[in-house]
Amino acid sequence: MEEKDLSNPRMGVFICRCGINIGAYVNVPDLVEYAKQLANVVHAEHNLFTCSEEGISAIKRGIKEHNLNRVLVASCTPRTHEPLFRAACEEAGLNKYLFEFVNIRDQCSWVHMHEPEKATAKAKDLIRMGLAKARLLQPLAEIEMKVAPAALVIGGGVVGMEAALNLANQGFDVHLVEKESELGGLLRSINKLFPANKEAVKLFKPLGEEVMNHPKIKTHLSSEVKQVTGFIGNFNVTLDGKSEDNQVTVGTIVVAVGAEPLKPIGQYGYGKMANVITQLELEERMKKGEPVGQNLVMINCVGARVPERTYCSRICCMTAIKNAFLTKESNPKAKVWILHRDLMTYGVDFEDYYRKTMELGVRFIRYSLERPPEVVGEGKLERIKVYHELWRREIELPCDTLVLTTPLVPAEGNQNISRMLKVSLDEFGFLLEAHLKLRPVEFAMDGIYICGSARWPTDVTEGISQAYAAASKAAGPLRMGFVKAEAINAFVDEDECSGCGICEVLCSFQAIELQDRDGKRVSHVNEAVCKGCGTCGAACPSGAISMHHFTDEQILAQVQALFS
């Protein structure tokens, strides 16, 4: 790329109307006229959608025609659109760090929808501030780093195994870590799987064998991940377990640690009455062929969709229906009732399965949270009382075994995973994806991916699809062999650094360490690991740490512009 002369700022301003998202509330033509009067602005225009191909060409054209060396776009949000505009600058020969984003949708038109004049005035302030910073922007370069051609998969259930096999079959070395002494996870306790009623063992056993025999997969059983340092392309993983090689280096990590069914202690007599069990305990009995009685009642949403645990665990309705179907199929004389709230048999197969189960004679009775079923019996449960919504009266059901359908809850280990990998948990304790809608199998942390019920309760079919998805993401950097690191990072003025070490302690990415420089202790930033969060810069008592692209000079210029 040819070097641009930056000494004399020539700034271009592109203001997006975003259809009516901005244009209807902020006077965009007025903003353009305003921007044109500001120092060093040589071009300003507005676009219907700056992110459309037309808008992107306008930026590129502007850079060429007006020999721009700084570009400012005022539009929606950098969260979704900064990469796009940066790329446009780059394609037109301008270093992408000479681009500045001003957010006039989220921060002006949306929040001040009912005060268009004030929204416009605020947009002017923001543009003026953005330009004050843009004048001082400097080109930066991203660092390219090599990627270790291996992956770590945490969790040896079917989801983890599928992810491991996918990566291994693509030719990468995989370390699969399972805390138990054998593979299979929760499926080891399951009888059969919906919708095909296939025995769970027929799925996880052959998979386990394939994993154990795969030349590219090293399985670490009875092992846990003890420590992870490093970053995408180069994670150093310490394992704690029987395995002799407990130190591995991998390029990417897939998390598939699963979830656990809730034990509903104290609910509907569970823990007190022997004939009150969970669906998981029913599965174990069915697997062993133990009798479950002639009258079976199931209660759904036990501990789910209640004030203390508001979520729906997605898979439990089908679990109950499957077990009801199998019970009735093996013993047509048995009576089976499912007491449920909304019935979550979404899609084609589940709805079909539900219908077949009804046809087989399983009775479905809807109850509401306001009038939950009641158990009758001393020491041993005898009957269930339930208000039948359609009959509009309370009925009593004979009951040999009461089966409670409980949600999946986050695995205990999630806290540890979260701490170790620096990934977040959601409000329930499940692992939090980067974006619920469009990045469901990625973490915000680069190079680490998520699949299965550790993220959200998921059935086997969906879990395996997620495993492939996480593996496909994890394979990207491994296949390319390199990744690029953010150029917006911290840098240390070693002359100013007193070597106090505060930054080293505070850095949540382990990117800083103290090093010797000619007998003096100074702080050193590993640029590949630094995320540019700025914590160290804010804390440094000597003012020795600055952030590229967010220097004190640049920020002060913005502040001055605001109050000028």
Partner: protein, 441 residues
């Protein structure tokens, strides 16, 4: 062409969010991707949506960056306004014939300025706006279309039909109009194929009890999306069809054609949530709007969905009524639809007058038997792509090397479609790599 080439390439059919995501993942793994889309732009169904549940992100705002990324990715070749005509061979060595349909515009010359569509004297119903808005016969389907080029609709072009007009040619300063353009056929060699052709809308006009197309103020959910979308025909002003008034009392009727033996027995899976979202949007557009949702089971099964429904009740005054409406009539005085339904809790037959009714129209897989035959894959009874082993290989079709994702695979929402798309990309990569390691064909 080098015999090896096919191994490093994948064909993706369908340019909606699933096809785009699969293409991006494959491209990021180093594969050459051909993304074939039959309409003039990628974006698919998601591009038509206003916002998306449960985050209420504006659909276009999160989709557009992906569309542009797909367009500018060095490993992706977009083949829009194109159709797959013929496929032969198998995994690792598929030969695919693609028809690039004549658009009568030189797509390399067109700047997308839009002047032609403005000056075109003939207007027809816009497919993108579901007929709620018009477009020129030469047109760019929507503001953020990718690629942004004009297409002449030959079914309606007066010059192509009657030999007179050429108005577009006169205004095109790029000299991009080419009435001599013919369909072009190209041949590709790919190692694997991903089918992501998305969803269609079930024709509910035969379900006469709901009054769709007979009662003016009975519309479908996707039409509602266009009426609240900022880029839609009303610029985001929600107005009811009969008199253009802003409705303050809206009813949503769920399972129209879904969970219905006479029509589609399956659950379309996304309607509970889009109705909830649309009720919220109506309130946001016009605070105080009262929405009532008539449902059978509220299937809020995804991450944060229950909390979303709770928020709709609490903050947006949405009422959920359990009951399946049997008939919708109209009050001729004020054009208000009247819903007759059995309220299941009390067991009484009741009526409900609304100013606007929004029907949750059943959704269907967008793939024909003929096209499945071209691909050599089977469909199931409901017309979705048949998956022989759902448990062990949930994204594999009946033909090795062909994978499916998104709504054509089974009814599912955007996050699930995106997940499957990445998954299908992973499966394609795995299968192609396995061929290599076996040293096979």
């Amino acid at each position: 062409m080098n015999k090896e080439d096919g191994r490093k390439s994948v064909l993706v059919i369908g340019g909606g969010i699933a096809g785009i995501q699969a293409s991006l993942d494959l491209a990021n793994m180093g594969f050459k991707v051909y993304l074939v889309e039959k309409s003039p732009s990628i974006g698919g169904r998601m591009a038509q949506l206003d916002k998306t549940f449960p985050t209420n992100d504006c659909a276009m705002c999160i989709l557009a960056p992906k569309m542009i990324e797909a367009n500018s990715h060095p490993n992706i070749e977009l083949l829009t306004y194109s159709e797959v005509e013929e496929i032969s061979g198998g995994i690792g060595k598929f030969r695919v014939r693609v028809k690039k349909k004549a658009s009568f515009v030189d797509r390399s010359k067109c700047t997308g300025c839009g002047l032609c569509q403005e000056k075109c004297p003939w207007k027809v119903d816009s497919e993108f706006e579901l007929g709620l808005g018009k477009r020129g016969v030469i047109y760019i389907p929507f503001a953020q279309a990718i690629p942004r080029v004009a297409t002449i609709d030959k079914e309606h072009c007066v010059y192509l039909l009657k030999g007179k007009c050429r108005a577009c040619e006169k205004v095109c300063s790029a000299k991009a109009i080419d009435f001599e353009q013919k369909d072009e056929h190209i041949e590709l060699r790919v190692g694997a194929i991903i089918v992501a052709s998305g969803l269609g809308l079930y024709d509910i006009t035969s379900l006469t009890e709901y009054g769709y197309r007979k009662i003016k103020n009975v519309i479908t959910a996707i039409e509602f999306e266009r009426l609240t979308a900022a880029s839609g025909p009303t610029m985001g002003e929600l107005r009811r069809p009969s008199d253009g008034r802003t409705p303050e009392n809206i009813a949503f009727v769920q399972c129209v054609g879904s969970r219905d033996f006479r029509n589609k027995a399956y659950c379309s899976s996304v309607c509970c949530m889009h109705a909830t979202k649309e009720a919220m949007l109506a309130f946001e557009h016009h605070p105080g709007t009262k929405s009532t949702i008539f449902y059978m089971d509220m299937r809020a099964v995804g991450k944060r969905f229950q909390e979303y429904v709770a928020r709709a009740k609490k903050e947006y005054d949405v009422t959920y009524v359990r009951g399946r409406p049997g008939r919708i009539e109209v009050d001729p005085e004020n054009d208000n639809p009247i819903i007759w339904y059995e309220e299941t809790i009390s067991g009484r037959v009741m009526s409900f007058e609304a100013e606007l009714v929004v029907l949750a129209q059943a959704m269907i897989p967008q793939i024909t038997k003929e096209f499945a035959d071209i691909l050599g894959i089977e469909l199931n009874e409901d017309g979705f792509v048949k998956v022989p082993d759902k448990l062990a290989q949930p994204l594999d079709t009946t033909k090795p090397g062909i994978f499916a994702c998104g709504y054509v695979h089974s009814p599912r929402d955007i996050p699930d479609s995106v997940t499957q798309a990445s998954g299908a990309a992973g499966r394609a990569a795995e299968e192609i790599a396995s061929l290599g390691s076996r040293g096979g064909e």
